[in-house]
């Protein structure tokens, strides 16, 4: 069954609201194994809503419409849907009573306008809205399944879970299982070339995606049972790891900081961070992970040269000789952070986050990352695109640092 999602709301077309409803419904349809080929958005205008329904009816059998069910004058979705199919709206006493109850349970009188929300096309099945006053409908008409739901995300989610999920399960012919594999340090193009043949697979499908400047691979398997789908994924995953294992670091909702945290805990290690250009972002990411107090003791944000010299005890000669953004300074920051904080590992980072402060020799985006352990140390130089904003450069630099830290402690 081909599905299409139509979201109604001028606020979406003005960019005041992000269309998370389309994302939510898409995720649900994908899990049900129902193909969604298009999304569309129209404003609160009857002619435009009908025109969008017309487009959808021609290319989908299941049309899920959200938004525009409120009590105000610009909420005209239900009316427009009925008009498109040349049907009348009919008053539904039972729904009206529920709306009355909704208000009386909150000690409020039912507003005159709310009555409108108890009108539905004849023969449509009303979907109760336990979280608000706008019910939805299931409507089978002209060989199409029309589902209309409110646009308030909390109400939509509740109604989906309570009613829509169950209604749609009967159309679901298979199970869909999805897995994201996350990589670092390989350009999208190279990664794409490495898995070119695998991307031709129909089931599971394999596709590269970019997230925060680094590639993911999405594997989606379709099968009669979850177990079967997971086996398909497992086989594909193995083939990908054989080729790209060295760049792979995590799955699905994993983050680099979580990956780092897991290794630190497993190996019973602690880490200290001395940050200059990232200004606390690496520390903040590391402490986003529940349980991070077991490996975080004391970190430093040494922005000024004085702080580097007095607090971290970086040699002033090094800063004088090589500059604060340099390999030897990153190395010393890492080592001194480790020693002062009495941790197993130290990480030092110094660079130019911009927009000012760059030179032809040391451009914006230049970052040195030092990592130090008792018996081993590394310093890496990276160049981040100077066209990025300061915030993005900080973010990229912190991801590089976390990935290098992950690799370092994997070998420790």
């Amino acid at each position: 069954m081909k599905a299409e999602i139509l979201c109604i709301g001028t606020e979406l077309l003005l960019g005041d609201t992000v269309n998370t409803n389309a994302t939510y419904i898409s995720q649900k349809l994908a899990k049900l194994g129902l193909d969604c080929f298009y999304h569309s958005v129209a404003g609160d205008n009857s002619q435009k809503i009908k025109s969008a329904i017309d487009v959808a009816v021609k290319r989908a059998e299941l049309i899920i419409i959200t938004g525009g069910l409120g009590p105000t004058d610009d909420d005209i979705t239900m009316q427009s849907v009925a008009e498109y199919f040349n049907k009348e709206l009919v008053f539904n006493e039972e729904s009206y009573q529920k709306i009355e109850e909704f208000f009386s349970s909150r000690n409020r009188e039912i507003p005159q306008k709310a009555k409108k929300q108890a009108y539905f096309p004849e023969n449509a099945k009303v979907i109760a809205n336990p979280a608000g006053t706008a019910p939805g409908i299931f409507w089978e008409i002209e060989n199409r399944h029309i589902i209309v739901l409110p646009g308030v995300p909390g109400e939509l989610h509740k109604m989906w879970e309570d009613s829509v999920q169950n209604y749609l399960e009967k159309f679901s012919k298979y199970v869909l299982v999805k897995r994201f594999m996350k990589f670092f340090g390989i350009p999208e193009g190279t990664l794409g070339q490495e898995i070119k043949d695998l991307m031709e697979s129909d089931n599971p499908t394999v596709a590269p995606l970019i997230s925060e400047g680094q590639p993911d691979i999405r594997i989606v398997a379709k099968a009669k049972t979850k177990q079967e789908a997971e086996n398909l994924i497992k086989n594909m995953e193995k083939q990908i790891l054989d080729r790209l294992g060295e760049f792979f670091w995590g799955y699905d909702e994993d983050t680099l900081e979580k990956a780092v945290g897991e290794i630190l805990i497993r190996k019973n290690l602690t880490v200290a961070v001395a940050e200059s250009c990232t200004g606390g972002l690496i520390s903040s990411k590391l402490t986003d992970v529940p349980g991070s107090s077991s490996y975080t003791k004391l970190n430093f944000i040494t922005y000024s040269n004085e702080a580097k010299i007095k607090t971290l005890k970086v040699s002033p000669d090094l800063i004088k000789g090589y500059g604060a953004v340099s390999e030897p300074v990153a190395r010393e920051m890492a080592e001194k952070a480790r020693k002062i904080s009495k941790t197993d590992i130290g990480l030092g980072i110094t660079g130019i986050a911009g927009p000012a402060g760059g030179t032809s020799e040391k451009p914006v985006g230049l970052v040195y990352i030092g990592i130090s352990a008792d018996n081993r140390e590394e310093v890496h130089k990276i160049n981040i695109n100077p066209a990025f904003t300061r915030k993005v450069i900080k973010c990229r630099a912190s991801r590089y640092a976390l990935n290098l830290l992950r690799l370092f402690i994997s070998k420790t």
Copy 2:
């Protein structure tokens, strides 16, 4: 001119990616006074892309297409756009050289596949992509204006600002000016009641919105000239400030850290931060602001008690007597951070970010914030909803701290 946004990407239809590009472009079009009547989304499938273009061509004169310009085999947007209009793609030597430079500046060889990104429909004008390898196009064909842009948000934004904005300005008939007023410390319901009558205004329109748990007010004015629209906004703004001025702190893209930074620079003050529960997030936010090196010297993330005692010189008796999450410890952290870093202001924060570590006496979400100057100090206790995730609690705590810091230095 009627505009339509068409975003290409199977990841959108699977719900793997939220369609923030449609939101971004909608905001830009709204500001230009260009009407956008529809959004649509199609997957990475040539026939479906062409079908979506066909729908768009019939109802819009300006069609902005994003996504599917990458180097991999499933990136087929440019090819599909050309095919829809029965045109060939032509190799563009200049664009190819830029792509080569992009790779060589990163010491990487240009992948075979990247060559594909230098092919465009004949007569289309290439839009340079300073942040990536996928250029876009402006293309006037069959009385339509077609703009094709990459789907990576950072690249899209940069290209919009550098090229597209300027290209579209000539089509703008009236001016729409939007202003967000930002508030802290007032519940949405209370704010809504205070401006209830103003919300009935037609031009400018006034609406409350929630962003990161705090209320904004959006004012939108439409007029022939920018000046006229801005006058409408200015009058409305004045009425709002008369009622809610004490909670107001900024406009539009303002952030609390930027507001703090501006005051620090204006008053020639420096600040030091000692963070426990926020783990570096406040420092990171403060250093997101360009120029923040003029007021940031040395900050501390003192997660362990030992770090608080040895590095910050917080009295061990205080920690023993009151606990690390307590008013006296927050006060000392602020004072000692200021003294050790030799800054004008010190900020100390200690709390329980969860999910573990809470007790009935000191629940998850309890946070103490101390602020210290030479002649004055404050400590605030806040309780954040413990149902939030660790990350949200950190974020809320950092916003409270930045707002308190803003109020403190306003009076310094």
